[in-house]
């Protein structure tokens, strides 16, 4: 059994394109997912029933349905209603609304972990809800949110591989493509596994550096209201 490196090297354009698309999808979907997560989290912890229950329904729905089904629904079912999204757009939308539910849970966990005295103190100072959430509670979330949030972002990078099933030309699709041309399944799939591993490891290292940078263990630092 010999490794046929030529098959990979000759088709490197496809692979590079695949890596580019995977990174593009992830790094657009992750910030949007975080944004959705914050909004859903605010709705989830709100006392208004009209916000609270829909948020719970959204989170539970997203957390209990496989992403693949969601992708298929967006891609195959929406055209029946006259909404025709391209594969790439479907990818962004699906990944970000899917990740948003998980981020929402992470943020909620963070808000619940903030000491109760912080809320009481903010209220006692007569700060308005929106203000103290934005200026007092959310800055403290870094500590609690960063590690699980990183995990979810990592999962989103990995889940973007599912988009190969709706012919988005990301890394897994590139592998199928090369495999179809050259019949070298071992080399191609081993290569993309390695590339995914490199992407994820680099991502983890970067976020690790970022985390030690924001001094998450020092609560007094982030408590200051500027």
């Amino acid at each position: 059994m010999t490794f046929d490196y030529a098959a990979i090297w000759d088709n490197r354009d496809i692979l590079i394109n695949g890596v580019f698309n995977t990174l593009l999808i992830s790094f657009i979907a992750i910030p949007i997912g975080i944004l959705i997560g914050v909004l859903i989290c605010m709705a989830r912890i709100s006392k208004r029933r009209l916000l609270h229950w829909p948020a719970i329904a959204y989170i539970e729905l997203m957390r209990n349905i496989p992403l693949l089904i969601l992708i298929f629904m967006m891609f195959y079912a929406l055209p029946f209603y006259g909404i025709r999204l391209s594969g790439l757009t479907t990818g962004f939308v699906c990944l970000s609304i899917y990740g948003g539910a998980y981020f929402a849970e992470v943020f909620r966990g963070g808000v619940e972990a903030v000491p109760k005295g912080q809320f009481d103190a903010a209220k006692a100072l007569g700060l308005k809800y929106g203000f103290y959430m934005r200026r007092v509670i959310f800055p403290q979330l870094y500590t609690y949110v960063f590690p699980p949030g990183t995990n979810i972002a990592l999962t989103m990078i990995k889940e973007s591989s599912l988009l190969s099933m709706i012919t988005v030309a990301e890394l897994t699709y590139a592998a199928h493509d090369i495999n179809g041309r050259t019949f070298t399944p071992i080399e191609t799939f081993a290569t993309i596994a390695l590339i995914y591993w490199i992407i994820c490891t680099v991502f983890l290292k970067l976020t690790g550096m970022l985390q030690s940078h924001v001094h998450t263990d020092d609560l007094s630092n982030s408590m200051a209201i500027r």
């Binding site: 349905i65 298929f72 099933m165 592998a175 071992i186 799939f189």
Partner: protein, 220 residues
């Protein structure tokens, strides 16, 4: 387009069988996962640094690559590489099981760290051999304390099984694909599939949460 669930529901027999198959595959894969996870836990605590390093590399590989790619590697690459011709069923179960194994190992590690040191010392003081200490004293306690988390891991496994449709396993997702190709009604069929997945995963995760609450109540 108007929804015609009434037309689809009588034809949804394949979805039902697909759901059963999903549960079946999920259960076996979860079993494999627990087996692998226990093995990894023992290896992590082994005397030999080679085994300990292996666990680290294994965990990093599983965490750093998508489950879909792992399944594809298992299905397309492992059989020609080893010469063992495993069918899609075995390959799928192995891939999902080995994937889950890494996460189960993490769960078990968390459980292990909660075992009081006295348990080790007591076992040692009784002069039990190392194997007996692990299998008769430590592991039962670890498993007992992480049952809720293992139940949640089962829902994670169920959510990975749709990926097995790529390697031609006719589980719920594949069954629904076949059904909507036949009936040209993706909206209804996929909604039904999503509903089935939701019912399965939601009930299991609620059960897990129930167990967690109960275990919290009885914690010493």
């Amino acid at each position: 387009m108007d929804l015609q669930f009434l037309d689809i529901i009588p034809k949804s027999g394949p979805l039902f069988w697909g759901a059963l198959y999903t549960l079946f595959v999920g259960l076996i894969a979860c079993g494999v996962g627990i087996f692998v996870g226990t093995g990894l836990l023992l290896m992590r605590n082994s005397r030999f640094w080679l085994l300990r390093t292996f666990v680290g590399i294994y965990g990093s590989f599983i965490r750093g690559t998508p489950a879909l790619v792992q399944i594809l590697v298992f299905y397309y690459a492992l059989a020609p590489l080893t010469g063992i011709n495993i069918g899609p069923f075995t390959a799928g179960i192995m891939a999902v099981g080995f994937n889950s194994g890494a996460y189960v190992a993490e769960i078990l590690r968390g459980g292990l760290s909660r075992i009081p040191k006295g348990q080790w010392e007591a076992a040692e003081a009784l002069g039990l051999p190392k194997r007996k200490v692990w299998f008769k004293i430590i592991l039962p306690q670890v498993f007992h304390s992480v049952i809720p988390l293992l139940v949640n891991e089962f829902t994670m496994v169920i959510k990975i099984t749709p990926l097995l449709s790529t390697i031609t396993l006719v589980e719920l997702t594949r069954a629904s694909q076949m059904l909507y190709n036949e009936t040209f009604r993706p909206v209804e069929v996929l909604s039904l599939a999503a509903l089935i997945y939701f019912i399965i995963c939601f009930s299991i995760s609620q059960f897990g949460e129930h167990l967690q609450r109960r275990s919290r109540k009885y914690r010493l």
